[in-house]
């Protein structure tokens, strides 16, 4: 009981004196604000990227790829494609057609709106079943492309970022004249993607194999049966992958980079902020030397003093953490970033703010440790005589 009373006593005295020690207190707060702000903003890239890559993943979607090959760059012949249509477990569309999407991807060139820089983005030849395969796909204007025609539909990020994607715009692709007929949103995706009829694309580009085939199952539980059926068919050289696994593999490297960079930069900034906090807390403890020595002369225990000083420094770090997270949220939440050639929106979530607070508490604790121990160790007589 005594310990707790002493602990709160010292803490209250300490906190009530903040206004007199405004400079070192502000130093701690600003140092922590910057460190947490940077950490949270950097982590927000990771969250944004993950939300975008995994946010639309459905367990009933399956992607077929050449055995051992890269997922989106397979060579799947029309004979194999026909065999896939008869596989068990595939969802049937409104007219009873199996929801299987055959795609052939070619990169085409665009120009950035602002800079005029050249950039490549995928033009994907696909089938009409795409709308049933991707229930998250919503047309915001215009209409679906028609089979057999040179028509393109573009996701809204294309129109925002690149020139020449307004409805009615014509693009010359491989000597042909292609017209944009629709704009759509695709769930969380921020990537520019352009769809066209797969047969038109393949005849234009002289291809005779699909680069990927995707299937929507009746339910995710059908996956094993479907995979085994694909594996058992001797005419198919294909493997079935769940969409979730494919996406995870695809973004493993990006996530590793983002995490490494976030925590690397965050750690260095936290070390800097902690060093600053140590210095400020030494100054604070020094200025309270007389007061602390008096308390100890009165019989306050060292443990209570150390604990309350540590608590004080952690309390001082919390406003910094909140401020840092708030700044990150205000400045960067929803901002589209495209580092490392992949664009997504930064997403600041409460979970990230929590990480920020935890880091701040750690900074406060580590920063307060040495000054608090010193305050408790200085002999009472020396401290009182020094006045």
């Amino acid at each position: 009981m005594n310990f707790i009373r002493q602990f709160f006593g010292v803490l209250v005295v300490g906190l009530s004196g903040i206004t007199q020690r405004i400079a070192p207190v502000l130093t701690i707060i600003i140092g922590v604000t910057c460190a947490v702000g940077v950490l949270v903003s950097m982590l927000a890239m990771g969250t944004g990227a993950r939300r975008e890559e995994m946010g639309d993943v459905r367990d009933d979607r399956v992607i077929l790829a050449t055995t051992g090959g890269r997922v989106w760059q397979s060579d799947i012949s029309r004979e194999e494609a026909a065999a896939i249509l008869g596989m068990p477990g595939i969802l049937k569309g409104a007219q009873g057609e199996p929801v299987v999407v055959f795609e052939s991807e070619v990169p085409i060139e665009g120009r950035r709106r602002v800079t005029g820089n050249r950039i490549y983005f995928p033009l994907i030849g696909t089938t009409q079943t795409i709308t049933q395969y991707l229930p998250e796909m919503r047309f915001t204007s215009g209409r679906m492309f028609q089979s057999g025609l040179h028509e393109l539909i573009a996701s809204n990020p294309c129109a925002r970022q690149f020139t020449g994607f307004e409805i009615g715009d014509r693009r010359s692709i491989h000597g042909g004249n292609w017209i944009i007929v629709g704009h759509f949103d695709k769930g969380q995706a921020q990537q520019c993607v352009v769809y066209a009829d797969v047969d038109s694309i393949m005849s234009t580009f002289g291809r005779n194999t699909y680069s990927s085939v995707s299937v929507r199952l009746q339910s995710s539980a059908q996956f094993e049966a479907f995979r085994d059926a694909v594996g058992a068919n001797p005419s198919l050289h294909l493997e079935a992958h769940r969409e979730r696994g494919v996406m995870q593999d695809e973004f493993k490297q990006l996530n590793a980079i983002l995490n490494f960079v976030s925590y690397f930069v965050g750690t260095i900034m936290a070390i800097g902020a902690t060093l600053g906090a140590v210095n400020s807390l030494y100054a604070i403890v020094d200025s309270r030397r007389r007061e602390l020595a008096t308390l100890r002369a009165m019989g306050f225990g060292s443990a209570a003093i150390v604990a309350s000083l540590l608590c004080e420094s952690m309390l001082l770090a919390i406003p910094g953490a909140l401020l840092g997270s708030a700044l990150a949220s205000v400045m960067f939440n929803g901002l589209a970033a495209s580092p490392f050639g992949y664009s997504f929106q930064l997403t600041v979530t409460p979970a990230l703010a929590m990480i920020g607070v935890i880091w701040a508490l750690a900074m406060g604790f580590l920063g307060g440790l040495l000054p608090a121990l010193r305050a408790a160790r200085v002999p009472v007589t020396t401290a009182l005589r020094a006045i």
Binding site: A23, P24, L26, T27, I30, G31, T33, C34, A35, G37, V38, S41, M42, T66, T67, G68, G69, R70, Q73, S74, D75, S77, V106, P107, I108, E109, T115, N117, R118, I119, Y120, I173, H174, G175, F205, G206, N208, T209, H237, I257, F260, V261, F264, V265, I268, M269, I271, G272, A273, L275, G276, N279, S280, Y282, A283, A337, S338, P339, F340, G341
Partner: protein
């Protein structure tokens, strides 16, 4: 000269505090160094890319197939010294995480002129005489425990005529690549063998590498090649390796913004922390400074003294931090290639350190200079 011992004494007046400030500045500039190194690394990749080697690819994209038959057409363009057809594929060795890039080329006489590769002459001869020969990037031998003469199985993304994706090659040599952006895990194979064995896409290539007779003619030759194929079924775009590197680097455009944002946050935090510390420190030293002034030190001397102390600590600390950053480069090079710290970055870093020192010491130094001797000595 008389200032030096005073500066030294001032710095070590409170060793704990100085060491903490020193560490804080070092840490901040270590981060500065790493981030700037990242940026210059990216720029380095572009600068190092050869401007005198051309790549002819389809006008729409880099991977649009072109017919091999265009080779003669490109060769006939004046100023072209060597044309080499290049086809790309991917493969894995043993398990899916061990990816290998496959570059199929036709090693005609003088083909190396059109590449950034270095290959020993006997390896090159062996490669040309072995249909299933493969030249692997230096380092891959050690990574997978291969030896020259080994017969290695690879699973390709390209299917053979028998519908199998299992391919096998004989390692006949190694090569090194002076292009910073070149694939680290790449194997060169013979286009003739690859094209004959594959089931689809026969007779096509991804691009042609072109060497020119005179580096000054690069732009003219590039235009001439594109002119030659304009309005044909296969329109081309001819670019130098440097132009290609540039357009790839544009995709990481936000990197600069990111780096600038972080560096400013670091500097703001640092500035504030050090400014309050300097303030605190001069307050504590008021009596000492008053003694100095009563001994005949002018206001200007005292001002410069405080400023000099800050400058010494900051610049030495920043130098340490930048040195520390170069130690981190090997770690970060796992993710980003070509990290480097040219002298200009060191200079910019030290200039920032000096600026932060001057700004954070200016107010306390001015206060010290304005000190009234009598009042300060009386403790008022």
């Amino acid at each position: 000269m008389k200032f030096l011992p005073l500066i030294w004494a001032g710095i070590w007046r409170k060793p704990g505090r100085t060491i903490l400030i020193f560490l804080q500045v070092s840490v901040a500039f270590a981060l500065f160094g790493v981030l700037q190194g990242l940026k210059t690394g990216v720029e380095h990749v572009v600068d190092e890319a050869r401007a005198d080697l051309l790549l002819v690819h389809g006008s729409l994209s880099l991977i649009d197939p072109l017919p091999l038959a265009m080779l003669e057409g490109i060769k006939s363009v004046p100023g072209v010294r060597a044309v080499v057809p290049v086809e790309l594929s991917g493969a894995i060795y043993q398990n899916p995480s061990q990816k290998v890039g496959i570059v199929a080329i036709r090693p005609d006489e003088g083909w190396l002129a059109a590449f950034t590769f270095t290959i020993a002459p006997d390896y090159d001869t062996a490669f040309r005489n072995t249909r299933t020969g493969a030249i692997v990037r230096e380092g891959l031998l050690a990574k997978y425990g291969w030896k020259i003469g080994d017969h290695i199985p690879l699973i390709f993304t390209t299917m053979q005529r028998n519908r199998s994706t299992d391919w096998a090659f004989d390692i006949v040599g190694t090569y090194s690549d002076s292009d910073v952006g070149g694939g680290k895990e790449t194997i060169l194979i013979n286009y003739a063998y690859f094209d004959e064995a594959r089931v689809a896409g026969k007779g096509t290539v991804k691009h042609f590498n072109v060497a020119v007779t005179d580096p000054k003619l690069v732009a003219a030759v590039a235009d001439a090649i594109d002119q030659r194929f304009a309005n044909s079924a296969n329109e081309t775009r001819t670019e130098s390796l440097r132009e290609l590197a540039q357009s790839q680097m544009q995709s990481i455009g936000d990197l600069n913004f990111l780096i600038r944002a972080i560096v400013s946050a670091v500097l703001v935090a640092l500035l504030f922390a050090t400014a309050t510390m300097m303030m605190q420190s001069t307050r504590e030293r008021t009596p000492e400074l008053a003694v100095l002034k009563s001994l005949g030190f002018t206001d200007r001397d005292v001002f410069l003294l405080i400023l000099a102390e800050a400058l010494v600590v900051f610049i030495v600390a920043a130098a340490c931090g930048l040195a520390l950053a170069t130690l981190v480069f090997p770690l970060a090079s796992r993710y980003v290639m070509g990290l480097s710290m040219p002298m200009i970055i060191v200079a910019v870093g030290l200039a920032w350190a000096a600026l932060v020192a001057v700004v954070s010491a200016a107010v306390p130094a001015a206060q010290a200079a304005r000190l009234n001797i009598a009042a300060a000595l009386a403790g008022r």
